[in-house]
Symmetry: C2
Subunit: 370 residues, 2 copies
DNA sequence: TACGTATTGGAAACCGGTGTCATTGACAAT
DNA sequence: ATTGTCAATGACACCGGTTTCCAATACGTA
């Protein structure tokens, strides 16, 4: 009955292709007017719901119908409106990146890794650098999350070490995945690397070359990565039964300039260290710079190891021996933790939560002079 | 009539504040459930429209009513749903950044500049790196723009020089602002710098130091920035009445490695140049690297000038004399061109379209040896 | 007193999708 | 012949805002 009633209606619409088209054109007249699900439904002679089923790959749908609708969709160049979907589904398709990391290469690598994970999904990446030193930082982030209603955020170190931020995300119903140098959270919310072990091996590498007076340029106090890397440094020296006076431990703030300053403090010692481990590549580059200013050659007079393996490490002179932090893979994994069950409901595998850093041997390490 | 039917209904709803509250609480029960405009309206005893007027700062509204509603909004912690607004307003609040620039520092600076412009607006920044070498690049971008329906995009060089991309944006009804080294488009769609003039001055700086055999490491063929900078180079030599043999013009592709290769070609000449201008800092760093490998010291044996003034320029050894490209200001201006009339309807000033680059003198230029 | 008129508030439609539930017809089981 | 089941599809309300249009009220004026 209904069917008989509708069939001519469908025909009517079909016959009135001109009308339907006119409507579509009226849409096209104002610039940016796109065809909607209603246009597709009218032209295919089905209901919106059925078109919606096509869009969402619903299995309960006749193949023939699906084909017909797909054809109309292609002809019209129809693309579903993401804002409308977001409204109806009560979630949007935006992943945020929250960071306060000064290292451009690292940030870009993370963006790259996240976008790899978001490839072929409906998700886009919105970025949000924050100012760690601002007293309103948490309020700013809250504001941002409330306004944008992101599906989830990836949080880069060092801000990822801030537990208040994680709690804020929970409170606002925003998924999050933290990246860091140690397990600060449960595996669902954390992608970590084993910095401590990696540094242990890197410093052991220096010991193997015969170094006994080894300095460290630590990261800034209060940073988990700084702590982990220092612990790895101490582990290695303890294993090698080498005493570690406080004077050989200088502190920087992860910038090139702070690396120069810290190196100068270490190289002023008597005797000066024959090797220095720096907690990141930027500071390692600063150490190289300081050494050169003093007329020391690297690695002959001073061996240096960095951490991160950002592009500066390969491009500086001499190319820097450093610890490669698998940042892109970690970022990809973090993003997949966020969107995995939505974007790839078929995939069963859990994303790994722990990644291994490895030593990259270049030319900044040699045996000490006699 | 209808009215009389409805008026008690409105009263009913209003009287049932308890019910409204329960509904609001029911909302709060499922995590992430936020209060909506309806909750605000019910609790304030007004209609949605009135609340909407408050949100949008409509002037036709009693001050007392406004205050009352604002109080409820504050109590509830209400934040308008951006997806719902986007749907109703037929535009969203996303600005895209399309780039294929390999320089991390530059990309981050641009992101920074754009975010400065988006500060205190409802807009967020979504990023989209593209692969210039991919044959589907334009299709990928089309796909991206169609799916996300961005309000507008900022396009970074070198991809900003692609006119097809600009036309694509037009076709899809997406605003765009291109950044570049020359005026490739009308001022509404373009933020340009005067690379040619800046390079002219930079090379004149070399001439003033007494250099007569000056080489150039150009950017890759087909890049407008490369052309502009080469033209500036030629201008300067012509002004100084210096002949420029083809052999002194090497080509790179803006990477560190290509800078090394190009420098080696130039330094193999007899006589070799005493100064080299490189079209960007990365290649300039490569030139320094190549010189050092040959036992030449910089700037004593070879003076070098770069372009961009990215962080590598200040951090390398010796600190690089280079042309500062005002990238952050340009990016900010580009973003303001996109959102200005929406986000700051009161501001009347037009964003500038032309920015001046300036020479930054550091330590990589000296007089040539005798 | 009656009548414009400006100000303020509300009902209902709409933006473009999705969820819930009902309906239909075909076919199998009783 | 009747009933039950199931696949396929549709009707309709809903998501949370904005807009259109009209009603109610207050006010000044003829």
């Amino acid at each position: 009955m209904e069917h008989w009633h509708r069939s001519p209606l469908a025909l009517f619409v079909s016959e009135e292709g001109g009308l339907a088209k006119r409507s579509s054109n009226a849409n096209g007249d104002r610039p940016g007017g796109k065809p909607t699900i209603n246009d597709v439904a009218r032209l295919s002679g089905v209901s919106k719901k059925t078109v919606s089923r096509v869009i969402n790959n619903s299995p309960l749908l006749n193949d023939e119908t699906r084909e017909r609708i797909l054809k109309v969709i292609a002809e019209l160049g129809y693309v579903p409106n993401p804002q409308a979907r977001a409204l109806a589904l009560r979630r949007n398709f935006l992943i945020g990146l929250i960071h306060d990391n000064p290292n451009a290469q690292m940030v870009l690598n993370v963006q790259h890794g996240i976008l790899e994970a978001l490839q072929d999904t409906d998700f886009a990446l919105v970025i949000r650098p924050v100012d760690r030193t601002s007293p309103h930082m948490l309020d700013d982030i809250r504001n941002f999350l409330e306004r944008q209603r992101l599906f989830g955020v990836v949080i880069l170190p060092p801000i990822s070490e801030n537990d208040q931020l994680a709690r804020l995300c929970d409170e606002l119903g925003c998924r999050y995945a933290r990246m860091g140098s140690a397990e600060l959270d449960d595996p669902d919310h954390m992608v970590a690397s084993n910095d401590r072990q990696a540094v242990r091996e890197a410093v052991a590498h220096l010991v193997e070359h015969g170094h006994r007076t080894i300095g460290i340029v630590q990261g800034p106090h209060g940073f988990r990565s700084a702590t982990e890397r220092r612990l790895g440094f101490e582990d290695a020296l303890k294993t090698a039964k080498i005493k570690l006076p406080r004077s050989l431990m200088a502190e920087g703030n992860y910038t090139f300039e702070s690396g120069i300053a810290a190196a100068n403090r270490l190289l002023d010692l008597a005797p000066p260290p024959t090797a220095i481990f720096a907690s990141n590549d930027e500071m390692a580059a600063g150490v190289v710079h300081a050494a050169r200013q003093r007329g020391l050659s690297v690695p002959e007079d001073l061996s240096i190891i960095g951490f991160d393996d950002t592009s500066i490490a390969a491009h500086m002179w001499p190319p820097l021996t450093t610890v490669r932090w698998p940042i892109i893979s970690m970022a990809r994994s973090a993003a997949l933790k966020l969107v995995g069950d939505v974007a790839h409901p078929d995939r069963e595998v859990d994303e790994p939560s722990m990644f291994l850093s490895t030593l990259v041997r270049r030319s900044s390490v040699a045996a000490p002079r006699q």
